[in-house]
Assembly symmetry: C2
Homo-oligomer: 337 residues x 2
């Protein structure tokens, strides 16, 4: 399956194909030097399989986890590229999940003021969401993603076969974003989650999710408005996530919980069993003040009130301004104890 | 005087007006928080005069010199903005020379994936050149500008009155870039340098230089080709500049020398007296290998040969590919001893 993100001179193809990793070089047609960025949680065979298809390829491995989305790591990769004489005509390939994609995408945006970037996402989360759209970022001072750039990839290659090495928890973590997209934009997809065997339908879920993301990105490349629908669940989710090291939750797990208080009662009632089917938590314990601090620092915040996305009916959504006090009350809904 | 850089949604005005600093707020119409970035070599009254015109303004002062164009400094300013709750709707103002403009422009490009940037250049060099065009950057590992972004300002405000506090050497340093632009693009402007009192004609020189820069940037925002004319003198100039700490030369002084080997004999013969009139050196001592290393790392380099700009006739120029060996021979022309 193939789809194309139409963004004028920044347009690019997204390829969803089992076994695509073996044809990465011919699919992308990359010339020149290649830097494959990966992390030590991704099976080494993936980055090696990609690198081996190019004459002049380097692999740079960062430690797994959010800690690698730092200015420090950013600078180290840039230094590595300078040392190896990368020019503006060379390319960077992300081979990993969202951390690798965000970090190496930001590196690509800034090296020589922008070089070609290709994304080979290896997790469900990055396949359905972060690999498409050109948002790149690193964290700073405990805040998620305040530093970054919009830098569209030249191509995204999604190979569902690589998901076979993922633990079930990671798969559910990623599917939380697909559930998110179904709630705001695709009632049929939500029914797949409700009624069908999820793993048996994963290719279809990936494609439908990517299509939703594609359409949103096409209409709002720089997140001026519409693209906000993708932030459904993220305002509160980022709040909980800021305590990640304390509670050990993944991004998608936080987003799953972050959606619940932003749904109408009937939608909430349908969402709970879907999250349970995916073994996703529906509440957790966290310090409200710490979480609120992160919520208010969230990059989607304008001066004063914060725009959030709410879902009154499955498959549709709207923007609602909420004050800090309202958001705090929402947070309490998903707080245990 | 006012001119407008036409770049679609990235268009902006350049205002050249004596006393403009006093009207900075009304000229720009900035709303929201303002971060004025300056360095400790710029008279404090300038940044204070700008900040005092806004309700919610902060001044961030970096040490004077290239050392501040670092990822470290970049991160510190970003942290400062996070601490002070800057949002995507707030603004950054550069009040200084090229270092301040490049650094704070890059900060603006990356904070929340891009916020409004205004430039109030306080040196001739930044007024005639670096403030227009949206190129932002920091240095890394001793290489100049390998990390950065294209991020156009929302407005450039040029006040020739602020030049009165500049030492003559700094003025000549900046005028080197204006000479550069006259050589590649405006034979009449070159005659001003040859025949007229330069300081008495500074407003005209500023305007004509900005106009050249504007036209080039309009035709080639992302430096795909034509914009290369602005790099006349820079390939070798950057090479010499990499040894800046050893030889204590300014950017424009290096560019002035970098132009000489790239001119035809008749142009060279006319350029020498103009540089002398401006008290700019026409040769200097440096280590050729160190300089060549910087030349080959220069961001304009594609794989293999390097595109350089040569001037056969005043007011016109062309692109010429040169090998490392040819460039080394060119470097020897401006090497003393």
């Amino acid at each position: 399956m193939k789809t194309r993100v139409e963004l004028g001179e920044n347009s690019y193809d997204i390829i969803i194909e089992r076994g695509a990793i073996k044809n990465f070089s011919s699919l992308t047609g990359i010339k020149g030097k290649v830097l494959v960025v990966t992390d030590d949680g991704v099976p080494q065979e993936y980055s090696q399989k990609i690198a081996s298809q190019f004459e002049n390829a380097f692999i740079y491995t960062v430690p797994q986890g959010e800690g690698s989305k730092s200015l420090d790591c950013f600078g180290k990769i840039l230094s590595f590229m300078l040392q190896n004489n990368f020019t503006r005509k060379d390319s960077v390939v992300a081979c990993g999940g969202g951390v690798v994609g965000d970090l190496s995408g930001f590196v690509s945006a800034c090296y020589m003021r922008g070089i070609n970037f290709y994304n080979f996402p290896t997790t469900v989360l990055s396949q359905v969401d972060s690999s498409v759209g050109g948002k790149t970022a690193v964290n700073l001072d405990g805040i998620k993603n305040p530093i970054g750039a919009f830098h569209q990839p030249k191509m995204v290659v999604i190979d569902p076969d690589v998901l076979s090495t993922l633990p079930p928890r990671q798969i559910s973590n990623g599917l939380a974003e697909a559930v998110k997209m179904s709630l705001t934009s695709d009632a049929e997809l939500f029914k797949v989650f409700e009624e069908k065997n999820i793993l048996e339908n994963i290719d279809d879920i990936l494609f439908r999710s990517v299509e939703i993301k594609r359409k949103v990105v096409e209409q709002d490349e720089k997140e001026a408005g519409l693209r906000m629908v993708l932030n459904f669940g993220h305002t509160l989710g980022h709040g909980i996530e800021s305590e990640e090291e304390l509670n050990g939750l993944y991004h998608g797990e936080c987003i799953a919980m972050g959606m619940l208080p932003m749904c109408s009662e009937p939608v909430h009632a349908r969402l709970i069993p879907v999250l349970q089917k995916l073994n996703l938590k529906t509440s957790t314990s966290f310090d409200v003040d710490t979480a609120m601090n992160a919520v208010m620092h969230d990059k989607k915040s304008g001066a004063g009130a914060i725009n959030t996305i709410v879902v009154e009916e499955v498959g549709t959504c709207e923007i609602k301004k909420m004050t800090a006090e309202e958001l705090k009350q929402k947070l309490m809904i998903i707080r245990e104890g």
